[in-house]
Symmetry: C2
């Protein structure tokens, strides 16, 4: 456990949950499930027993550093990495892994988003421990593959091949978000898994992979670590995802594996997925916060406990209240929330 | 004009406009029309040229004195009368008139609620001036009678008889809120007017009328003015409306008159009447505040300018937002708002 490090990617702006989530205070810092813990706090919680507090790392936007400190005071201040500009996940992960290697050259690393939820953390820990054991001394990347429960078109997939060790399989290909018919084929085939963006590797493997597949980023990281000049050098990195930068070429080289998993994962990417995760009352409403409902059904409602919200006669609506900001809209129209909230 | 005094009754709690109006900050102190002035400020404004600022009086609950001072700083502090307990309108008006008589024994007085609206203040002033001229030197009470535009069952009526002077008529009876069929008969008859609760009289006439019809209240007032002990004596007054206490017996004695009027009056007693007073957009929405509407129609919306409210897909709803309090309900259900907002 002392050698395990966890990198939490917490730079998202969460615009699809406006006004609950705003660019000033995005969803990873919100108690979106109404359980008393924010999404990033839940993310830390689920690694209990896997990683000690001084081995957590958070990569986030400079604007959110203070929020991270407040919500996760146990994480060393030097482990909160403030990106001067968003450069997608490859530079983000590179910075964290270069930093980890400096402290702990043999570290075993898990990278995770800050804003997903896991309903079965015990099973999550079992899967992650398996993956960490597998990658500790191998030239291997493991991406956790979620067993799909529906032909979802909003996620990328990994194509799994033969089992190589315990539950771990070889990955033969990464697949981008599919069309509906393709997603149905994946589901029927049985060997396609959702790419949850949770990666496991040892720090030498990932840093050398980045050097192999994205030498420019590796060179920027070397210079950045030597000079400490994050402000100027980090923004020079190519804006590219870790999937494109490393996963796909590494999979082609036979170095990527997946651990199929079923621990109640959701990326909580929209109101529909939040609605699915909430308990429903007898009328099918999923409610977080102090809200009174009269003759409402199949609504998803998020309000602050400090407030007082009364709703009557709403069917199939999203209601989101934060301070003096309010959204009421049909659940069928949630893809327009970005438009609704634009200044 | 120097002899004219205006008494504003501002003790209401306005529970039917929750959460816009709350017991801590009721509707008379709110810019309910979104015009930049609160209802009590608009009430003062409409007497411009009729009454000078030092002759205004406000009777209100002790809890609202500070709000009155802030909203009407020009009114003498000694003219803000803080009721230690609500005792309906007869004791309220008695206190104000006993106080006025002490300062100005020949005063001519207008009594008005704080929370009505008048769309044509110029016509309002003309009518009030007529009534003041009529009552200045007569044993007469004038109640302003609003020409009804619909068979309203939510207001009391006055029955007008022959004209006695200019536009002023004798009142033969007060009628309580009628049933629908009765209200329709009143409308058809043409000589029934809405009782707006706006009264005009000279101070000697009203104080002697109270002494005649409610000697107990008069005696309490005498003691209260002599001792200054409002806290103990005021709550001893009978809880009774000026209509029951004075208007009805005085009408039976032939001393009550009405000035029929048509100056766009509304008591703004509920969301339906606010909706009627607001300008409507092309979809029939009446909106106060910074609100974005998408596919909404026939809604009435009141939100704070400081907030940010987005509504989509609502037909025939009331939406009221104040701070972190929110009501969304069908317009047809507005009579349940008290129930909705109960603690």
């Amino acid at each position: 456990m002392n050698n395990n490090h966890v990198v939490i990617m917490a730079g998202g702006v969460g615009s699809r949950f406006w006004p609950l989530s705003t660019p000033e205070f995005p969803k990873q810092f919100i108690d979106i499930l109404g359980c008393g813990r924010t999404l990033i706090q839940l993310t830390v919680d689920r690694f209990k027993g896997v990683c000690q507090m001084e081995n957590f790392w958070v990569v986030t936007n400079a604007a959110y550093v203070e929020i991270v400190r407040q919500q996760l005071p146990e994480i060393p201040a030097a482990h909160i990495l403030a990106e001067p500009a968003a450069r997608n996940t490859a530079p983000c992960i590179s910075w964290a892994c270069w930093s980890i290697r400096k402290e702990s050259p043999d570290a075993n690393v898990v990278v995770t988003p800050a804003d997903a939820v896991v309903m079965n953390p015990e099973e999550f820990r079992r899967v992650v421990q398996n993956a960490l054991s597998f990658t500790a001394d191998k030239e291997a990347i493991v991406t956790i593959g979620i067993k799909p429960s529906r032909p979802e078109t909003g996620y990328g997939y990994v194509e799994a091949a033969e089992t190589v060790s315990g539950e771990i399989c070889k990955v033969t290909a990464f697949k981008e978000k599919p069309q509906r018919e393709v997603a149905e084929r994946y589901l029927a085939a049985g060997n396609y898994l959702w790419n949850a963006g949770i990666f496991v590797w040892n720090v030498n493997m990932i840093t050398s992979s980045i050097r192999t597949y994205k030498p420019d980023i590796a060179e920027n990281m070397d210079r950045m670590m030597a000079s400490g000049d994050v402000q100027h050098i980090f923004p020079q990195c190519e804006k590219i995802s870790i999937d494109f930068a490393v996963m796909e070429p590494a999979a082609a080289d036979g170095k990527v594996y997946t651990h199929p998993a079923d621990f109640g994962w959701s990326d909580l990417g929209n109101w529909a997925s939040l609605y699915d995760k909430l308990q429903h009352d007898s009328e099918g409403n999923g409610v977080v916060g102090k809200v009174r409902l009269y003759e409402c059904s199949n609504c998803v409602v998020h309000a602050e406990d400090a407030g007082k919200v009364v709703l009557q006669g709403l069917q199939d609506y999203i209601v989101s209240q934060k301070g003096d900001r309010l959204l009421v809209c049909k659940r069928s129209e949630e893809q327009r929330i970005k438009e609704f909230s634009a200044e």
